[in-house]
Amino acid sequence: MKRYIISRLLQAIALVIGVLFIVFIMLHLTGDPASLMVSRNASPEDIEKIRHEFGFDKPIIVQFANFLKGAFIGDFGMSLRYRQPAMKLIIERLPATIQLATAALLFSLIIGIPIGLLGGSNPNTGLDLVARTTGLIGQTIPSFWLALMLIVVFAVKLRWFPTFGRETVKLLGINFPTKSIVLPAFALSLFTTGQLARFTRSSVLEIKNEDYIRTAYSKGLPRRIIYVRHILKNAAIPIISIVGVQFSYLLSGSIYIETIFSWPGLGQLLAEAVFTRDFGLVQATAFFTSVVVVVLHLLTDIAYGLADPRIKYR
């Protein structure tokens, strides 16, 4: 187990270094980062000014070294638009995104997994059809369109929820979102719900046909015990991986939802930075999100290793 954790940890570190490299390169894709960051009617002098201010006139290696140095201490430069350090903005916006992603994850866990379980345990029945359809729906309905339709129905027509914005209530010193989180979280969760339903279903189906389940039946164990102790316990392990992956998807994929609902999180920050050509901020956000994803995958792998005795013990 220890070896497993260490190898995963080393991989994660290598990934972060790779991410740094990629994020750095992105700005230089067109060869002239400075011209990216200015508005259309900028004069050559303006571009030269930007180039100097951001150090784009130095040799690439030096730029990269400086970039690395800054990244190490969390300094990604200043946001052009907000005139504040990029990192500070990111940290400010982080809680809102985490809350949104967590709420979406909860929705999909509560809805998706039971549906998948029922479907997998009862193949070729109506329940199974529901499970497969849920998977299909999650895959075919785009979250941004769903968000818009939800607004039309639930916010405009029925007036159950606000059309946009994040309202919070202060509980125990933390800002908890109110029902304003429901529509955004639900729209965001649809894809994940579908994936969880589909994956849980196929996991159960696969395991049902394993030899050791037949052994369990041959021992005369009651069906209930076979399902819970034998099938579910085995099916749960790969689900851990999927949940981890989906959570990182939720954290990084909230651009659309946050933009539509004016939810002040990282996604909205990224979208605005892109619109205002504030590429330093884009770079910082991209890097930060990537690191979060890498860390999440690492944690998921560790959790998986702990859950599967074949990995935990030798």
């Binding site: 990934l15 991410v19 990629i22 992105m26 895959q139 785009p142 369109w145 994929g253 050509r277 999100t289």
Partner: protein, 312 residues
Amino acid sequence: MDDKKANNKNVTGLMIDEEKKKGIFYFFYYVGRLLWKDKTGLVGLLIFLSVIISAVFSPYLAPYDPLKQNLKISKTPPVWYKNGSIHHIFGTDDLGRDILSRIIYGSRVSLTVGFFGVLIASSLGMIIGLVSGYVGGKLDSVIMGAVNLILALPYLVFVVFIAAILGRSLLNVILIFGFTDIPIFVRVTRGEVMQMREEGFIEAAQSVGATTSRILFKHIIPNLIGPIVTLATFEMSAMIFYESGLGFLGLSVPPSVPSWGNMLSVGRQYITIYPWIAAYPGLAIVYTGLGINLLGDWLRDVLDPRLRRAKK
């Protein structure tokens, strides 16, 4: 005793000539039976074909020019609303352009992106994956390292990043999706090659003196077709999705070009008052995605275990 063999029956009892006839016609019969058995595959195929037809024959199917603006009739609701008119079944957008026509033409952008994107990703991905899996060693480690790095990145964030840098054009979008999707194809291809390696295929073929190209073409590639085609189908659907997402953010094709994503972006501004501007393009995306996904599910069931047994 020898008259048994003279009977022309092999052990399965089938006449040997019959088996030969089974070849070509049987293939279509078999596929037809499979489609009918799992009718969702048939539905998916029909939906997909309808979208293709809509893209190819847009000028004949669309009632109006998708670019024609007419501010006088702008923001007309669909026909079943109070102020709707039969002339514009799905209504018009903020600049008076007919929504149905723009939806029909919009399929061109989506299908082009999907088709060419997948073409690039699958062909390059397959080549790289083959090389990586077949040659193995350090090259394989380096390639897989790069693949894993790219796959570890948050996809949407980077797609948005690149699109913002490159600017709005159809070609850029195709290139973005085409190249960012290569790693998936590399991984799947390499996985299949590795599996064949593990099953001893490659070693066996080499030991009887088969040349590399023969091994590749006669053994490996036929076994790749199933998984790759299935993957390509699903990736196509994903690309269509992501393209419309980019369009929604204003990062895909230029604003005048009719694309479902662009339409959603406009529709968003008016969502509380003129919801139809966004509703129907979105339905088009759902419809197309449904068709491709159903088709993909069917392909996956059909191509995976069955053909593999037959082709070996």
